[in-house]
């Protein structure tokens, strides 16, 4: 059905929900590139005003990508929980925004309606929210996941240690990994992006992390971010796979350009579960997403990049992941032009993910052709810290020498823990304290130096033994 709103003498008409969502979306270059963005500031506000009056129920009756032609639409509609939706079924999108912000709505209430919210509802309400609202509501959500430690508890904040190397050199990876561990990084996962998808290389990297983890008895999990088919192959050959990784998008067509579909993810999910390697929990999946990937694969069906990103979260939540992160600034300036757009997109992704029940992290990052710098990343880091983001990346000096982009450093995470009083995952924190690597109690670092002094030969031996 069509929607409209009149401003002065112009009656703005929007042909369908998909168009209305696109026109109501805050400005970003990717939507301009797709030719679906509002033509003026006034048209955008007209669309937002019209959207505020749309009943949430409308999203169940009008799909933005046809049910018949897209398995993610089918997943969203078929898994929608009518009973959970009951509490909000009379609300419009605008009323939903006010309701989310109201004092009566806390984590318990949000959990009770989680399965009744579709990605499109989450995306729609986010378009009517200021950055402050996105932070305030996300902050209410507590999404806790477990494998060998507990991630996402209130007052805690974790990091993925990302020790990438341009040629997958094991000694090089180990050096970055040890550096990161001694800065207290790695409680979300020690996760390597391999430079090649060769199963032999991936296996060696997996064995490396596994060896270090076992030798130092670190309560964390490992992951090599290879294609899901490579991981499946490795699982079947008995490799030490803790978490199964995959990049996902919000349309069937986009996922097919990634070489995946829901059946394949299900197969890999079951295979990873069957290894039973988690000691305290069974969250075994790690997904990455990011606005713009659907357009970049020419698989967006005319849907705006923020809404179609939220649809990827429907895929993620089906498999009860340990970690999900939006690699927000990696895509480049033709999708998110500058610090302002990257920051807005990150807050939207974090909010939508959390509202849909996902353990959201964010790769706070930018490329050198984007109009962004470390100051923008510091702003975003602080905002996401306040919003209760589950985890960020930890990369030596912010500089990923394999993927050639800038993300957050080990030091950045310590800054956030210090200014906001956050602590690592409890099991990991206990390990840090035991090793004398206790950055959360920042008054005394001498123990750390004692630890390194006492272990330096062991650490170097570890590397030379590789």
């Amino acid at each position: 059905m069509s929607y409209s709103f009149k401003v002065r003498n112009i009656n703005y008409r929007f042909a369908d929900l998909k168009t209305l969502l696109a026109k109501a979306s805050p400005y970003r270059t990717g939507d301009v590139l797709a030719g679906i963005c509002a033509d003026s500031y006034e048209e955008r506000v007209a669309a937002q005003t019209a959207l505020a009056d749309v009943p949430l129920k409308a999203f169940l009756n009008e799909t933005i990508i046809p049910y018949e032609s897209d398995e993610i639409t089918r997943l969203i509609i078929d898994s929608h929980d009518v009973i959970a939706f009951n509490a909000i079924n009379s609300l419009t999108v605008g009323e939903f925004r006010d309701w989310l912000l109201s004092d009566e709505v806390d984590n318990a209430v949000l959990k009770s309606i989680e399965a009744g919210i579709t990605p499109e509802m989450a995306a729609a309400v986010s378009k009517l929210m200021r950055n402050q609202d996105l932070i305030a509501v996300a902050k209410k959500c507590e999404v806790i996941t477990r494998f060998r430690n507990t991630i996402g508890l209130k007052g805690h904040f974790s990091t993925r240690l990302q020790p990438n190397h341009p040629t997958d050199d094991l000694k090089g990876v180990a050096a970055s990994m040890i550096d990161g561990l001694l800065y207290g990084s790695g409680d979300a996962v020690i996760g390597i992006n391999p430079a090649t998808d060769s199963p032999a290389v991936v296996l060696n990297l997996l064995k490396l992390i596994d060896t270090v983890r076992e030798q130092f008895e670190i309560p964390t999990q490992s992951c090599v971010l290879s294609h899901i088919t490579t991981t499946l192959q490795l699982i079947n050959s008995g490799a030490p796979v803790d978490l199964c990784f995959q990049s996902i998008g919000g349309t069937e067509l986009c996922n097919s350009s990634f070489g995946i579909n829901l059946a394949l993810i299900e197969e890999a999910y079951q295979a990873t579960l069957s290894l039973n390697r988690g000691t305290i929990g069974k969250n075994v999946m790690y997904f990455e997403t990011g606005q713009g990937s659907e357009l970049s694969a020419n698989a967006h069906h005319g849907v705006d990049q923020q809404t179609v990103e939220a649809r990827a979260y429907a895929v993620a939540r089906r498999y009860k992941p340990l970690l999900v992160n939006s690699v927000v600034g990696f895509i480049g300036p033709e999708y998110l032009y500058d610090g302002k757009q990257i920051i807005r997109a990150a807050l939207e992704d974090h909010f939508c993910g959390k509202l849909l029940g996902l353990p959201m992290g964010v790769d706070i990052c930018y490329t050198n052709h984007a109009e962004a710098d470390q100051d923008d990343m510091d702003n975003l880091l602080t905002l996401l810290g306040v919003a209760g983001c589950n985890f960020i990346m930890g990369i030596p000096g912010s500089d990923d020498i394999m993927l050639n982009y800038q993300s957050t450093s080990f030091h950045d995470a310590l800054y956030l823990r210090k200014v906001l009083g956050y602590r690592p995952a409890p099991e990991f924190e206990q390990w840090l304290i035991k090793q004398g690597i206790n950055y959360t109690n920042s008054t005394n670092y001498s123990e750390l130096h004692e630890f390194i002094g006492a272990n330096s030969e062991r650490l170097l031996a570890l590397i030379s033994g590789i």
């Binding site: 090089g172 550096d179 300036p333 050198n368 052709h369 030596p396 000096g397 800038q406 390194i452």
Partner: protein, 250 residues
């Protein structure tokens, strides 16, 4: 009292170029490392906004004795270029018109475009071509007029190859600058170039610069791939360059 805590892991630095063992001030990155990082980012940013040195390139390229065309993509400014990759992939109308005078049929069209680092081609394109062009000529391949393109993306090479009626296109283009190198040039070749092709139809040789893949081995590798492409009448995923690596022994 020492304000900056030096890093006991310094010996690990020999294993990786990553910024490890950088010490800390409180829990923050020390001044020295912060400034080094800023400088690397400044180099990368300046490279993105660097401009094709048309005069310099024309004067060095004329020693190759080939006609030279100066073209422009549909992206009229750097800001437009960054926001609209589709514009950077197409020539503007005046440039398309220019090609029409030269569509006599060639074996190879060679294109030089600024891409995301004009600096990279300003510094590396001629050094590569002065080795590669004579090799192509001695292999009796007919080379089209050299094309200099401002605000160009990789795919513009295919449009030009098509417009010049060439059997193969080769584009030398500035790669997205990283913190470790802002002057890295890439070379992409397409057999049977035409508008609308994507990466899977091309072969890429990356990181061409004095501190990376030097001009001589880069030219050898490109020449090898070009000859293989002509022999097998294809390029892209079907044409692996591991043969080239084996044949050249590096």
């Amino acid at each position: 009292m020492k304000i900056v805590v030096s890093d006991p892991l310094t010996p690990l630095k020999e294993f990786t170029a990553a910024r490890i063992a950088i010490g800390r001030a409180g829990t923050s990155i020390p001044m020295k490392e912060t400034l080094q990082f800023k400088l690397a980012h400044a180099h990368a940013r300046d490279a993105v906004y660097s401009v094709l040195d048309v005069e310099g390139l024309v004067s060095s390229l004329k020693t190759l004795n080939l006609p030279l065309l100066h073209l422009q993509s549909k992206a009229l400014s750097r800001h437009k270029y960054l926001k609209r990759p589709d514009h950077g992939r197409q020539l503007d109308e005046a440039s398309e018109q220019q090609l029409k005078d030269y569509n006599h049929g060639y074996d190879i069209a060679i294109v030089i475009a600024d891409g995301l680092s004009a600096e990279a081609v300003n510094e590396n394109a001629f050094d590569l071509l002065k080795i590669l062009v004579p090799k192509l000529q001695s292999a009796k391949l007919k080379i089209a007029p050299l094309c200099l393109v401002e605000q160009g993306r990789v795919a513009v090479g295919d449009d030009i190859g098509f417009g010049l009626n060439a059997k193969l296109s080769l584009i030398l283009i500035g790669e997205r600058p990283g913190l470790s190198a802002a002057d890295s040039m890439g070379a992409y070749l397409t057999f049977g170039p035409k508008p609308g092709l994507t990466d899977e139809s091309r072969n890429c040789i990356s990181n061409i610069r004095p501190q990376g893949l030097k001009a001589k081995p880069a030219a050898d590798k490109i020449f090898y791939l070009i000859m293989e492409a002509f022999k097998r009448k294809l390029s892209g995923v079907g044409l692996k360059d591991d043969l080239a690596i084996g044949a050249l022994g590096h």
